[in-house]
């Protein structure tokens, strides 16, 4: 049982803004997020709530017009925002933190065989890579020692079998468009696990897949993550998926995290009004669809205080004035609300 | 389609495009006001053997040429020739090319296919080569240069319009109009044409620049207006035998060409950014 406070990833009060032609969009407004070792954390929210921005911020690959304003991102004890970019690029990205993208098709270069692209990842991120291998000039003109290359290739093939890609040797020479969507995403999972990371960030990894194979891929990811004791930060807008594979869920609304809870608690006893409405909006047989009234705020000019207050029936002056602090409800359940809903929620 | 004052405002916000516009307007002004701006308007066409090949001085801003004429004044008058050639040639190419493009793009018929074939033929060699053939056959004169250039530039308009019309035909509002029984000519005139205006405008501006370069190249090769017309290309060609001593001789006309073409290119780029930003900012200068 992990000791509380012994978090693998600690995002504290992270604020990120982007300069746009319409003004500065304050995308993340003081977000807190904690992930423990071997934990699958679901990050749930509507489109535009900042899930991808948070993932990018952790990886350190925000767009050029981004500005950190405050906060910290501590990973395995080290503050990533304070670390030199070069170190983040070589030691953290693709190594201790890996990535599974939303679009498995576009995320492969269409002109190179997937074997080449996989081995490129291994060349730089294989656990067998040692410090004395020189990176060359900006990555060019560097050598790939033959012995390691062979070991890496074997590891890749083994992992391809593990993710259930048939005939992995043949797959090596194929171009991305020659594989199916499901195969490509399995490949992505393989590439995310080969460097033996501590954290995998999966950004809506099944959104682009057929519904029939979504569950397969998710179950595979969950199984492998648990086996290897790898944490996963799993962003999604689909609560059903979150229920299936996450250990804990954090809800993000317009750049503010509003509730965090272990998965059962989350579905049985939601406290934040937004969470409740989200759960209510899930389709149910015999009941017409319920939607959450209003619209997500414009981030260039967001509401003050708690950003959900314009759409919340329980909002008061206090909510408009200042964002609520974290209230610990016990058992790892936290909420940020002045007027949380107590009692049982909805199934 | 944004209105003209809107376009102008956006244009002025882009420094490069604004500079281009300024240059083009300057060219027009110079062409119109040449007699007033020239320091030696009378010397443009006459011979002054005592003043030949003088270096730049206060009296002769860019020196004198082999006839003793003031190069600066000749360049100013040459602007008239340049502007005339460019406007008429590109205008004619437009008037020929756009209708052909409309016809061939609208309906898949043998006529359309043939017309596209014909335009392909004109594109089978680089423009200047065919223009040389035409201009040389007809004899050196401004009219023949204009003829040669318009005869070789119209395919660019045709291709452009053809492609636009083809893609427009797939738009739902056009399909709706056809289904409603609106006659073809009305659709083309009222719905298609306004939508192809933007790429045509961009192409026209860039075409002006390119036409000026080709026209001056023809002048350089001896196919343009015969002497003593102050055509810029011909002036550069004349300077060759007096190099390196008369180093100033080719300077003014060459600079004039450079500035003017630059102006049209910048303006064209700016217009392209405003009117159709989805076209990649790559252009070939043609």
């Amino acid at each position: 049982m992990p000791v509380p406070g012994d978090n693998l990833l600690e995002v504290e009060n992270l604020r990120v803004s982007f300069g746009t032609e319409h003004g500065t969009a304050k995308v993340l407004d003081g977000v807190n997020l904690n992930i423990r070792p071997s934990e699958i954390m679901g990050l749930v929210g509507e489109s535009g709530c900042g899930k991808s921005t948070l993932a990018n911020a952790i990886l350190g690959i925000l767009a050029d017009n981004a500005r950190h304003q405050s906060g910290s991102i501590r990973f395995a004890g080290k503050d990533l925002l304070a670390m030199a970019q070069r170190r983040v690029e070589s030691e953290v990205r693709g190594r201790s933190i890996t990535f599974i993208p939303q679009d498995p098709f576009g995320s492969f270069n269409p002109l190179f065989p997937i074997g080449t692209q996989a081995m490129e990842v291994m060349k730089w991120k294989s656990p067998r890579r040692v410090a004395r291998e020189k990176p060359g000039i900006a990555g060019l003109f560097s050598r790939y020692p033959r012995a390691r290359r062979r070991a890496d290739a074997a590891a890749v093939l083994q992992m391809l079998r593990t993710v259930q890609i048939a005939r992995p040797e043949a797959a090596f020479g194929k171009l991305p468009h020659e594989l199916s969507g499901g195969q490509r995403q399995r490949l992505m999972i393989a590439l995310a696990l080969l460097p033996q990371p501590q954290l995998v960030i999966a950004d809506e990894p099944t959104t682009a897949l057929d519904a029939t194979i979504q569950m397969q891929i998710l179950k595979l990811l969950k199984r492998l993550a648990k086996e290897r004791e790898v944490s996963v930060l799993f962003t999604t807008h689909d609560l059903g998926i979150a229920y299936e594979i996450c250990d804990r869920i954090t809800v993000l609304y317009a750049g503010q995290e509003v509730e965090t809870a272990p998965v059962d608690d989350f579905f049985r006893r939601p406290h934040h009004p937004y969470t409740v409405r989200l759960l209510e909006s899930l389709p149910q047989p015999g009941r017409e669809l319920r939607e959450i009234g209003g619209q997500i705020p414009v981030l260039v000019d967001p509401p003050a205080g708690c950003r959900f207050h314009p759409r919340c029936s329980r909002a008061t002056e206090q909510c408009r004035a200042e964002r609520p602090a974290v209230t610990a409800l016990g058992g790892g359940h936290h909420v940020r609300c002045y007027h949380p809903i107590t009692g049982t929620g909805h199934p | 389609m944004t209105a003209a004052p809107d376009i102008l405002r956006k244009l002025l916000r882009d420094p490069a495009a604004a500079a281009g516009l300024a240059i083009v307007l300057l060219l027009v002004a110079v062409a119109l006001l040449a007699p007033l701006l020239a320091t030696h308007p009378e010397a443009v066409w006459d011979m002054n053997p005592h003043q030949r090949l003088l270096p730049p001085s206060e009296a002769y801003l860019f020196g004198t040429d082999r006839m003793g004429a003031d190069i600066y004044s000749r360049v100013l008058f040459g602007a008239r020739i340049t502007l005339t050639i460019a406007m008429v040639a590109v205008g004619a190419a437009l008037l020929i090319g756009v209708p052909i493009g409309l016809v061939s793009g609208w309906r898949q018929s043998w006529l359309g296919e043939t017309l596209m074939r014909v335009s392909d033929i004109f594109l089978a060699v680089p423009q200047i080569i065919l223009a040389i053939a035409i201009a040389q056959t007809l004899g050196p004169s401004i009219e023949n240069v204009i003829l040669a250039l318009s005869a070789t530039y119209w395919p660019w308009f045709t291709r452009l319009v053809h492609a636009e019309v083809r893609s427009l035909k797939n738009e739902t509002f056009i399909e709706a109009a056809i289904a409603l029984g609106v006659p073809a000519w009305r659709i083309i005139l009222l719905h298609v044409l306004p939508n192809v205006t933007s790429p045509i405008i961009v192409r026209t501006s860039i075409g002006m620049g390119f036409t000026i370069l080709t026209a001056s190249a023809l002048g350089f090769l001896g196919l343009g207006a015969p002497p003593p017309a102050p055509e810029w290309g011909r002036m550069i060609s004349d300077s060759r035998e007096f190099l390196p001593e008369a180093w100033w001789y080719a300077l003014a006309p060459g600079l004039a060409i450079f500035v003017v073409v630059m102006g049209f290119n910048l303006l064209g780029d700016g217009l392209r950014d405003i009117l159709d930003p989805r076209i990649r900012r790559a252009g070939t200068g043609r």
Binding site: S107, N109 | P126, G233, G254
Partner: protein
């Protein structure tokens, strides 16, 4: 197999296009205001003599018949006889073609080797100083009249500084002719001095010719790289910590090159067009210079022959480019 189909398809397109070009050229040449037969016959010829000559030359027959005759003549490789050199135009041009090819290839190399990296740099520094600088450079490069630039370079580098020779392909005797390309021949000969001589003569013309092509390549590469940088696979590689330089120069470049190569066909047009004036200024003995001399001497037959010749050369060059494009992009199903 796909390549063969591509070639056949392009040739099938090329033939009627060239035939059309020939027809146009033919009709142009028959529009001469002055009577060419009278010119040929000379000033003292009588009316009857002129008519006789016209009959002998077959110029009294209907135009269409003459056109067909012209086609037959062309198919036998006869582009007419130069009025000036009195040799077959085909022979004249073929003798001078290697010089133009050498110049054009040299210019293409300069344009590509410099242009692509500059385009990438412009894209990487988007909207910052280097990008703006390069933009000014490319706009200027496309606005300069090449013959003027040629003169300026001659004036400055050849006449003033004397770093480069003024004109021609070589000073002294050319290397033993194996390929007709002086650079290659000098290399094969192993004569370093001659090689240096040839390269020095090649430098100024090639650079002048290359400039508009260079500007175009920079612009297209910049646009292609910017577009590719938006793609998801770039983001994925960044997220996985692949070194940034590698992402750009190995992966992004390869994807952007597709669009650049597509433009090389267009570039050949620019280069061929530029060759006419550049060869004139530098006295380069290629087909462009030949055209200029033909103009100078009112050698109608030579100019017409040149036009058709240029059409063939241009068509073949484009065909080669299309093949290269199909090879580079393995996804190319049909053009």
């Amino acid at each position: 197999m796909r390549i063969v189909a591509l070639i056949l398809r392009r040739v099938a397109w090329l033939v009627p296009t060239l035939a059309g070009l020939v027809a146009i050229v033919f009709f142009i040449s028959r529009v001469i205001p002055a009577d060419p037969v009278a010119l040929l016959a000379g000033e003292t010829a009588s009316r009857a003599q002129i008519e006789l000559l016209r009959q002998q030359l077959g110029l009294d027959r209907p135009l269409i018949v003459q056109l067909l005759g012209y086609y037959r003549q062309l198919l036998s490789g006869d582009l007419g006889t130069s009025l000036f050199t009195t040799r077959p135009v085909w022979d004249d041009l073929s003798a001078r073609l290697p010089a133009t090819i050498e110049l054009t290839v040299a210019a293409m190399i300069v344009a590509v080797v410099l242009g692509i990296p500059l385009g990438v740099i412009a894209a990487l520094h988007r909207n910052r100083f280097l990008d703006h600088l390069l933009r000014v450079f490319t706009v200027a490069g496309l606005a300069i009249a090449s013959f003027w630039l040629a003169l300026l370079l001659q004036l400055f580098f050849a006449m003033d500084l004397r770093w480069f020779p003024l004109q021609a392909r070589i000073t002294g005797f050319p290397p033993p002719s194996l390929t007709g390309f002086y650079v290659v021949d000098a290399l094969l000969e192993g004569n370093v001095a001659r090689l240096g001589n040839v390269l020095a003569h090649l430098a100024l013309p090639a650079i002048t010719l290359a400039l508009p092509a260079l500007a175009t390549i920079v612009r297209f590469t910049r646009a292609g790289v910017l577009e590719t940088l938006q793609k998801s696979f770039v983001m994925y590689q960044r997220a996985m910590g692949i070194p940034a330089g590698l992402i750009v120069w190995k992966y992004v470049l390869r994807n952007s090159l597709i669009s650049t190569v597509t433009q090389i066909g267009l570039l050949f047009g620019i280069l061929l067009a530029g060759a006419v004036v550049i060869e004139t200024v530098f006295q380069w003995p290629g087909i462009g210079g030949y055209a200029f001399e033909a103009i100078l001497h009112s050698d109608y037959a030579a100019v017409m022959g040149f036009t058709i010749y240029a059409g063939v050369v241009f068509g073949i060059a484009n065909l080669l480019v299309d093949i290269g494009h199909a090879v580079l992009d393995p996804r190319q199903a049909a053009p």
